[in-house]
């Protein structure tokens, strides 16, 4: 077998290798470039009390979770019970960011399904979401004591993600 005639076969095998690996990947998922970068600053009114404002700087010194949600988002409503459970264990402060929503609708959702958040901020025009690279709700960020984003969950939080990724990370960050 002369060497050059084997080249097409070799190239093909390499190609199949990559395709096989690719089958396990999700081409639609957009990983965040903000991991290990400072959480973008913002200052927006709170959901329940528009006279009060919220800025991530207030949370410095604590490990906390920012959960981007909206009342019009079906997946958010499905995720919500998980968040309510999470908040009961008081592991970490949970701050909500109501994204491109109507105040009344969001308040109604929290009243109906329970409010897991310490409080929620209101991002009416979506500008904060854009700065955080939000492209679909729900999205959740774990932010450390220095205000650096350490983890982003795209889509609803599942039990598995919580136990395998988020809780261990939070424990580790709390020690630092």
């Amino acid at each position: 077998m002369k060497a050059k005639f084997v080249i097409p076969l070799v190239l093909f095998v390499v190609l199949v290798g990559f395709l096989a690996v690719g089958l396990n990947r999700d081409p639609h998922e957009v990983p965040s470039p903000l991991i290990n970068k400072p959480a973008p600053l913002f200052n927006v009114p709170q959901l329940a009390n528009p006279n009060k404002s919220f800025s991530p700087e207030e949370m410095k010194g604590q490990v906390w979770i920012l959960n981007v949600f909206a009342s019009w988002c079906v997946a958010c409503r499905e995720e919500h019970p998980m968040l309510v459970e999470m908040s009961k264990s008081h592991v970490v402060p949970l701050i909500g960011l109501d994204y491109k929503d109507k105040r009344a609708d969001a308040m109604e959702m929290l009243a109906r399904q329970g409010d897991p958040y310490n409080f929620s901020a209101f991002d009416g025009d979506g500008r904060v979401g854009i700065n955080y690279g939000v492209y679909g709700v729900p999205e959740t960020y774990v932010i450390d004591k220095a205000g650096i984003i350490r983890f982003k969950q795209i889509g609803p939080i599942t039990q598995e993600v919580l136990e395998k990724s988020m809780y261990p990370l939070i424990a580790k960050l709390n020690k630092d």
Binding site: F5, L9, V16, F18, G22, L23, N24, H28, P31
Partner: protein, 640 residues
């Protein structure tokens, strides 16, 4: 009163077809290897039976759609009772399972054609060719029966189906996939001939002679299929684009590029006995690209607007199928190709060299498209992040690689086989060069804007056209041209026409996004488009708002356009139906946007000069292929 048993007939036919395909695939190949005549002769009848069974199966599925049998899951997911009959038929191949059944139907159809039209062919060759096709069919039938059965029942049956994506309710839908698949799948014949000749150990020029007409016909269909898809996107999507370098578009374009290289290479192998190894490899690669495309569309590996609903199991199965078919072919190639004999000699400066050079560029072009399409996957698989490779990349890379091909196109036919004199070539071509240069400088000036890229486009297009015209004149002086010659001219001029269309639209199109109320007008490209009114209307399964626009030139009304915004009963997404006034030298394209305050509307108007030349060029190329196939020399040779 129970559920119809007809779908079960379709299912059963598929199971039978699988059994027959296994026989068709295994016995003739083993028989040819061991010289068992009684197994060889099974090839033709097995192929014929396979085809009939597939016709039955596909016919049954079509009947299920036509008769609104919602006890079949696939029908319920892709059709509903309000769908007009034509689109109910088109819906048969609107989803993964049905389109795959179409694939297999066409595969057995091509095999059937080969079985019927190969009476003069050596029976060992026939057995091997049909055997290979049988093996491929076996693989696909296994795939369908285990992971993608279109006859799966939905019990209890749905009251009504979910309906077809409104985008797909279009005449283009009815023709684009079948045409495309005829092309894709048709390359399996050249593939089967290549494998058969590798298996026989006799890599002579005969297989090229046999493969050529089949490859040409497949290429014609693929050309038409791609052109139709492009044209459909143009008038259906509402914003005038015609090519997006979407992964699935690329999946059909790569086999086309390889197929074009293969066509030319086959010509050399047939005439001069040269390039045997290269041509065999191209035949394998062309069909491999078809299979790869099938994988990419249905596995969920890439982001694409065309991608069918995905299921990891399916992805794995197709990948295994792809690996087996292509892997074993390339292994066989590595084993047997070195043994082939050298063909006729030719010097560095000859038609053979020019064709080979053109082949290199076409293969590189195809490789580049493959690289760009798969690169995001490559980077992701290596955990190096997520990137996108889109039109800016492909345009930047593809165009420079194709420029040499277009340049060579005009020169090749003037060069002699075996050896040609450079000086003679220059003598013949300098007139062509001058004409091309004049066109390159003048036309942009006439159209109003000169850029290097635009000039290059016209330079190449007229370089090809002028060369073709001179060849035709020379040929007519020598006597009546053969169909093969006419085919070549049409094919080459077709590309030039295509390039003119692309250059004109790319450089000189005008687009205006305006706010219009009845009575307002907007001007583009020397035309005035005036809004007359906007009123509600209704279709068989949609509500719409229809605008009436008048197209005027120098104050004289030319035509009326009726763009619509439709709300289909089955979908919440409003669809835009653009209205186009097509002409030989320009299209006027009006698209209705969102309603604004005060009874006004957002309207988008395009002036697209020579855009129809894009698809006109493709039609010419396909026509060229047709002339080439109809050349009597093919048929005479086949009879010998």
């Amino acid at each position: 009163m129970g559920y119809s048993m007809i779908p079960e007939i379709g299912h059963f036919a598929l199971i039978l077809a699988l059994c027959v395909s296994i026989i068709q695939g295994v016995l003739p190949l083993v028989g040819a290897q061991q010289g068992r005549r009684e197994w060889l002769v099974l090839a033709r009848p097995a192929t014929q039976i396979s085809f009939v069974l597939l016709v039955i199966s596909f016919g049954v599925l079509t009947w299920c759609f036509y008769s609104n049998d919602f006890s079949v899951l696939y029908v319920a997911e892709h059709s509903n009772a309000q769908l007009p009959t034509v689109y109910r038929i088109g819906a048969v191949w609107g989803g993964h399972e049905g389109s795959l059944l179409l694939w297999i139907l066409l595969l057995t159809g091509w095999a059937f054609a080969v079985a019927q039209l190969s009476k003069a062919l050596d029976e060992f060759m026939v057995a091997r060719v049909l055997g290979v096709l049988g093996l491929v069919a076996t693989g696909l039938l296994l795939f369908v029966l285990t992971t993608s059965n279109p006859f799966e029942r939905l019990l209890p049956a749905a009251q009504d189906g979910r309906s077809l994506n409104p985008l797909l309710q279009d005449p283009g839908l009815v023709f684009h996939p079948p045409m495309l698949y005829m092309g894709y799948v048709g390359f399996s014949v050249a593939f089967a001939f290549a494998i058969a000749s590798l298996l026989s150990g006799k890599l002579d020029a005969a297989w090229a002679r046999w493969s050529r007409p089949w490859t040409t016909v497949a290429w014609i269909f693929l050309t038409l299929g791609i052109a139709l898809g492009s044209y459909w996107a143009y008038y259906e999507l509402g914003w005038g684009g015609w090519w997006f370098w979407d992964p699935v578009e690329n999946a059909s374009f790569m086999p086309w590029l390889i197929g074009t290289a293969l066509l030319h290479s086959l010509a050399v192998t047939e005439k001069r006995g040269g390039f045997k190894n290269w041509t065999v490899l191209l035949a394998i690669i062309a069909f491999s690209m078809s299979l790869l495309g099938t994988f990419l569309v249905r596995s969920g590996v890439l982001t694409s607007v065309h991608a069918f609903a995905t299921d990891p199991r399916r992805g794995i199965f197709i990948l295994i199928l792809l690996s087996l078919v292509v892997g074993s072919s390339l292994f066989l190639y590595a084993l047997r190709a070195p043994k082939s004999t050298l063909g006729g000699t030719f010097s560095l400066m000859s038609r053979e060299t020019l064709i080979l050079l053109g082949n290199v560029f076409l293969v590189v072009a195809s490789g580049s498209v493959l690289l760009g399409t798969l690169y995001p996957l490559l980077i992701d698989a290596l955990n190096l992040g997520k990137i996108s490779v889109g039109p800016p990349y492909f345009n930047a890379v593809f165009v420079p690689i194709m420029v040499p091909v277009l340049f060579l196109l005009a020169i090749g036919p003037w060069a002699n086989w075996k050896s040609t004199n450079l000086k003679t070539l220059v003598q013949r071509l300098w007139v062509v060069a001058v004409i091309a240069l004049v066109a390159a400088i003048l036309i942009p000036q006439v159209m109003g804007e000169f850029t290097i890229l635009t000039a290059l486009g016209f330079l190449l297009a007229f370089w090809i056209i002028a060369s073709g015209v001179l060849q035709i004149i020379k040929q007519f002086k020598a006597g009546k041209p053969t169909r093969s010659f006419i085919g070549m001219q049409l094919g080459h001029v077709g590309i030039a026409v295509f390039v003119i269309g692309v250059t004109m639209v790319g450089a000189y199109q005008e687009e205006k996004d305006v706010r219009m109320a009845p009575g307002d007008s907007v001007s583009v490209g020397g035309y005035q488009i005036q809004m007359v009114d906007v009123r509600p209307t209704q279709g068989p399964n949609y509500q719409a708002t229809r605008g009436t626009f008048e197209v005027l030139r120098h104050g004289i009304a030319q035509d009326a356009l009726y763009p619509e915004k439709r709300n289909y009963d089955s979908s919440t997404m409003p669809m835009t139906e653009a209205a186009i006034n097509s002409g030989l030298t320009r299209d006027i394209y009006v698209s209705l946007g969102e309603p604004l305050d005060g009874g006004a509307w957002a309207v988008r108007v395009y002036y697209k000069p020579f855009v129809m030349w894009i698809w006109g060029g493709c039609l010419l190329m396909a026509l060229g292929g047709l002339f080439a196939v109809l050349d009597k020399r093919y048929r005479l040779r086949l009879k010998k």
